[in-house]
Symmetry: C2
Subunit: 142 residues, 2 copies
DNA sequence: TTTTGATATTTAACATGTTAAATAGTTTTT
DNA sequence: AAAAACTATTTAACATGTTAAATATCAAAA
C-alpha cells in the first residue's frame, strides 16, 4: 500500500526544510543572494580555493546549476574563478573580499535564526535530528 | 559564528531528501511523471476532489507551479479539472481513471523502496526521524 | 604516437521554485 | 447598490533542478 502523504519521509523532509528556510530567506533576500548562491559562498568561506566538482559536492548543487551560479557570483565579484595549471579542464573557485564581507554581514543574523530554531525544538532533539539525518545520508555511500 | 556546512540543518535535510529521492526517481521516470506530478497524483488519489489551494497545501507545491502541473496532467488525462458552482474563482481537481491506473502501477514499487529505506535505517529510528520532522514542521503553526 | 577511454565543465531543453503582479470573482462596507 | 477589500487562480520573469548531450582536456592502451 502507498503511505499516507502525511507521514511520507520525502515529504516530511521537504516540509521541514521549508519551515527552516522560510525563516532564512528574507535575510538572504535583503542581501541580494539566493539560497543556493549563499550555499556556494558559505562553502568557499570555509575553504578556498576549491574546484567546481568539490564545490558542487559540498554545496549540494548540480554541476549545471553551479555553472550558472558561478557566473552570477563572479560578475558581482563575490567569488573569483581561475584555472588550474596542469589540468586545463578544471576550474578553481575562491571567495573574494566582497564575499568575505557578505559572510560577515549575514553570519550574525544567520546564527540568531539557527539558535532560535534550536531553542524552539530543543537542544537534544536538534542534535538527535541531525544524527538521524546523517545516518540517512550515509546510506548512499554503502 | 557560522555553522559548519556539514552539520547545517537545512543542508542535512536537503541531502537526506536527495538520498531518498535518488532511489525513487528512476521509477517515476519510467512512468513518465516528475516527482512533483507524482505528489499531486498521490494526494488526489487519497482524496478527490480537492480545490487547488488545498491540493497545493497538501502536496507542498506553490500555486504557480501547481497551475503548470495541472495543465500537464489534465492534458494526459491523469486528472480532471472542473469548476465550483457558487464560487467562480475556484477550481476543483480530481483523480482520473488513468491516474488511478498509474497509482496502482507505481504503488508496489514505491512501497518496496520505502520498506528498503526503513529496513536499512532501522524501524525505530525511522519512526523517530518522522516524529522529529513533524515537530519541526509544527513550529510553523505556532 | 595515435587511438581509445575517462574526466571536468558547459550547454541545451524543459520542469519547477520563487516573488510579484495581474485577473477574475466574492464578500464586506458604506 | 456601488466601492472597497479580500480571495483564488493565473501569468510573468528569472533562478534553479534535472537529464542528456556537447566540448575540451587528460590518461591509458595499442
Amino acid at each position: 500500500m502507498l503511505q499516507s502523504t502525511r507521514r511520507s519521509l520525502p515529504m516530511s523532509l521537504l516540509r521541514a526544510r521549508e519551515v527552516v528556510m522560510a525563516q532564512f530567506r528574507p535575510i538572504l533576500a535583503q542581501h541580494g543572494v539566493s539560497e543556493q548562491q549563499w550555499r556556494v559562498i558559505r562553502v568557499l568561506g570555509e575553504q578556498s580555493p576549491l574546484d567546481a566538482t568539490e564545490l558542487a559536492e559540498r554545496a549540494s548543487i548540480l554541476a549545471p546549476s553551479l555553472t550558472r551560479i558561478i557566473k552570477a557570483l563572479e560578475e558581482r565579484k563575490l567569488i573569483t574563478r581561475g584555472k588550474v595549471d596542469g589540468d586545463g579542464r578544471r576550474v578553481m573557485l575562491a571567495i573574494a573580499p566582497k564575499g568575505q564581507v557578505l559572510i560577515s554581514e549575514v553570519a550574525p543574523e544567520s546564527s540568531a535564526i539557527y539558535d532560535e530554531v534550536q531553542r524552539r525544538i530543543g537542544h537534544e532533539r536538534y542534535e538527535q535530528l541531525l544524527d538521524l539525518l546523517e545516518g540517512l545520508i550515509d546510506l548512499e555511500k554503502k
